[in-house]
Amino acid sequence: MRYIEPHAHMVSRTTADYQAIAQVGCEALCEPAFWAGFDRASPQGFYDYYRQLTEYEPARAAKFGIKHFCWLCINPKEAEDPVFAREVMALIPDFINKPTVLGIGEIGLNKNTKNELAIFEEHVELAKKYDQAILIHTPHLEDKLKGTRLILDALENANVDRSRVIIDHVEEHTAPLVLDQGYWAGMTLYPESKCSPARAIDILETFGMENIWMNSACDWGISDPLAVIKTALEMKKRQHPPGIIDKVIFENPKNFLSQCPNFKL
């Protein structure tokens, strides 16, 4: 099966993981800028991180025939200090024209604070200024519902092109909020939180196969870089036809990402 991994944090993964996902059909992979498991001490740390995302990871992926793309931002977990966040954001224009950059992401909220929201809104304005697509992180667990609502309100105020915005980590209670307002939705497949393969397929069967993708978001925590393909196999077990499975794991991400000028398979 061919597939696109639309959300993975490969800076935290081994080269063997690239090999494994290539062996099961991964053709392209997208890496949003996020927390690396620790708070970086200076904006210079992010400069190095953006170089890693735009130079080193594409080369590492290419060894296995995988095209690597990335999104840039300061993630909400490190955006509580707005002065620090703005210093990091000032670096983004230097990288925005690199050949594998897709847009601004994963921006969003973590603990739904005023500072996080202010930095989120400034990222949205940055995306509009440079005509970039947007990938959005929604908060964890008990914070997800409130965070999703705050994000949707902020996006409405910003008057963004909804077809170029994907709101990630949706679950049963937030998927309809996102899809009904005309945004794309992403589901993250984690072993211990977010969605299991079975629940992700339930969400597809309940809310439809349009404008939605699945990702492993494999990172420094407990996560599975093969989660997308395992979920595809679970879809097959439920007798979803091959064309539908291909749509969800390949065509849907391809259609959204093709709105980014740098995305080419």
Partner: protein, 81 residues
Amino acid sequence: MDARFKLLEIASFLDRVDRHEGEADFRHPAFMKALQAMQNPPEGTTRAQAVHLAFSDHSTEPAESAGIQFAYGAHKEEVES
């Protein structure tokens, strides 16, 4: 079989809590509330949505500051109210 296995995991977890002395933290009553929500979801809400809603923060204003970076699994004020 899978659901039966998972149901027994939950039952054993609750037995484990019952077996020990001391105060359960705020997530235990939240968990019990979520179990009830699952069995009696409000009209127009699926069981999975009802569980999510039972654990969620339903306030609408942004918080003044973060305090912590992680999530607990259940909203504290919701449980206490």
